[in-house]
């Protein structure tokens, strides 16, 4: 597949390098225009993604490939250490990769070049937003300061306009009273909701959530999950890593089971949860039901 607008070397031919992941059958389509894409064109496509840490000593992703469409909410499940966080960090463009490419809306924005370097198209990468498991708000800035920093300092937006947008966003999510609070004055759930709002300020086309409720007390999980659900209802495409099976079932339009650095199984949630195809998935779901960590 060749992305029309980039000057980078073309990616390997259509689907030729896709690690078999049971993805949508659209990988063979080739993008002609850069904006108007055939309906079958995947919104996000990950091809043959390999990633290791410590200069190859710790292989983490061993050829991951999959796709999601613009209406998808992709939930990524899998045992601890299986590479879920690493996968999301790669999609966000936070990591160098050892092979493969990632496409957003038909544009190859992350790619391992032939010289081994990782190419990241920053203009496309900026259309992706991410919220992490750990709290990442800037502690020396108020909630408002956190929200407007990137729009003002990165995008050059007028401060007044950014403040107005921030206030609207915070009102919408019931956080307006916290406008002038510092992160240390917020509960964990509020911190994560502000972190989501901060990402939304940049009007992303794709949101990534990496276990955003894992650090929270149980009673605070619901407020964060319902904020994500509200975004989902508004049509935001997202990739979600979670250990909360109830939430996963509710929000997923597609599930991906990732273990040992590969996609073991992927498909629609009904099939996945009711009749997983492979034993590894069944064992994983069973262990979750028993409440034990894998």
């Amino acid at each position: 597949m060749v992305s029309g607008s980039r000057q980078i070397p073309a990616a390997p031919g259509p689907a030729s390098s896709v690690a078999d992941a049971g993805g949508a059958g659209s990988a063979g389509q080739s993008a002609e225009g850069e904006d108007r894409l055939p309906a079958t064109q995947p919104f996000v496509e990950i091809r043959n993604l390999r990633k290791s840490y410590a200069r190859g000593a710790i292989p983490v992703l061993k050829g991951v490939g999959d796709t999601m469409s613009k209406t998808d909410r992709l939930v990524i499940l899998g045992p601890s250490g299986g590479g879920k966080s690493t996968l999301l960090r790669c999609v966000m463009g936070l990591e160098t990769i050892d092979s493969g490419a990632i496409t957003l809306d038909g544009r190859n924005y992350i790619e391992c070049l032939s010289n081994g370097r990782t190419f990241v198209d920053r203009t496309v990468q900026r259309q992706v937003g991410m919220v992490f498991q750990h709290y990442t708000l800037f502690p020396h800035l108020t909630v408002l300061g956190n929200l407007i920093l990137a729009p003002v300092k990165r995008n050059g937006e007028k401060k007044g306009a950014a403040i107005a947008r921030a206030e609207a966003l915070l009102s919408r999510f019931g956080l307006i009273s916290k406008l002038k609070s510092y992160p240390s004055q917020l509960s964990g759930g509020q911190k994560q909701r502000v972190a989501i709002a901060r990402a939304l300020m940049l009007e992303p086309k794709l949101m990534l959530f990496d276990e955003v409720t894992s650090a929270l007390d149980p009673e605070l999980i619901a407020e964060v999950e319902s904020m994500i659900s509200e975004l989902a209802e508004g049509g935001m495409p997202m990739m979600i890593v979670t250990h909360d099976m109830g939430f996963a079932k509710n929000i997923a339009t597609k599930v991906l089971f990732c273990a040992d650095g590969v996609v073991m199984e992927s498909g629609d949630p009904e099939t996945f949860f009711a009749a997983p195809k492979i034993k590894r998935t069944r064992d994983f779901l069973a262990s979750i039901l028993r409440g034990t960590k894998v």
């Binding site: 936070l94 992490f132 990442t136 708000l137 800037f138 020396h140 920093l149 300092k153 240390s184």
Partner: protein, 223 residues
């Protein structure tokens, strides 16, 4: 020598002592400011990946922390002019010596502050696509400064007190004035007690500010 203690005796000499205090404060503020700026740079070098910058900055810091301030001062006042074959006046040499000393102290405070900023801040910076300049100026520097603030303040108090050494190279600071007046009048008890009280009057509030900052500012920001 008259051994009775009569505080009113120092009154006529107060203006001279205050001029000395002014010189002490001027020199301290100057050297603290210079030391903060260079200290941040040296602190960045000490945490960076450039080996040469790391080695140079480490030698610099350890040398200035590991030798008496008095010998640093004397070396810059007596030896440096000879080596460079230029005239260096007492005020300039005192400023250089104390600034270098403050740089070494401040760089240590900044170094550990920079180290304590978690990698999750970096994740946030990258995920928000903040350019390097913005992240240094608006994320890293403010947090490093706030985290280093208690140490920087107590370093500043140290420098203020150590600055009394510059009287040894003839700077007319508070210590110098005190020594002159006390030997000229043969009234060391009154004069030196007053000098000590004047140092304390500045130093003590500063140490109080340290704990105030720790309690208020840093707790609110949970830094």
């Amino acid at each position: 020598m008259d051994l009775t203690f009569s505080p009113s005796f120092v009154l006529p000499y107060l203006p001279a002592l205050l001029r000395g205090l002014y010189m002490t404060l001027l020199l301290s503020i100057l050297c603290i400011s210079i030391g903060l700026v260079f200290g941040f740079a040296v602190g960045l070098m000490r945490n960076g990946t450039n080996r040469i910058a790391y080695a140079c900055s480490t030698i610099f810091v350890e040398f200035f922390r590991g030798t008496p301030v008095l010998i640093q001062l004397f070396w810059i006042f007596f030896c440096l002019p000879v080596l460079l074959n230029v005239e260096i006046g007492p005020f300039v040499s005192a400023t250089i010596a104390l600034s270098l000393y403050m740089t070494a102290l401040a760089s240590e405070a900044f170094r550990s502050a920079l180290l304590s900023i978690g990698s999750e801040q970096n994740d946030a910076v990258l995920a928000l696509g903040l350019p390097r300049r913005v992240s240094l100026l608006h994320v890293i520097l403010p947090q490093a400064f706030l985290r280093a603030l208690p140490n920087l303040l107590s370093n500043s108090v140290t420098l203020f007190k150590e600055s009394a050494l510059v009287s040894a190279v003839g700077i007319t600071d508070l210590m110098f004035q005190g020594e002159i007046i006390s030997s000229a009048t043969a009234r060391p008890i009154e004069v030196l007690t007053t000098v000590a009280a004047m140092y304390f009057a500045v130093g003590f509030p500063l140490t109080q500010i340290v704990s105030l900052v720790e309690r208020r500012v840093l707790r609110r920001m949970a830094i």
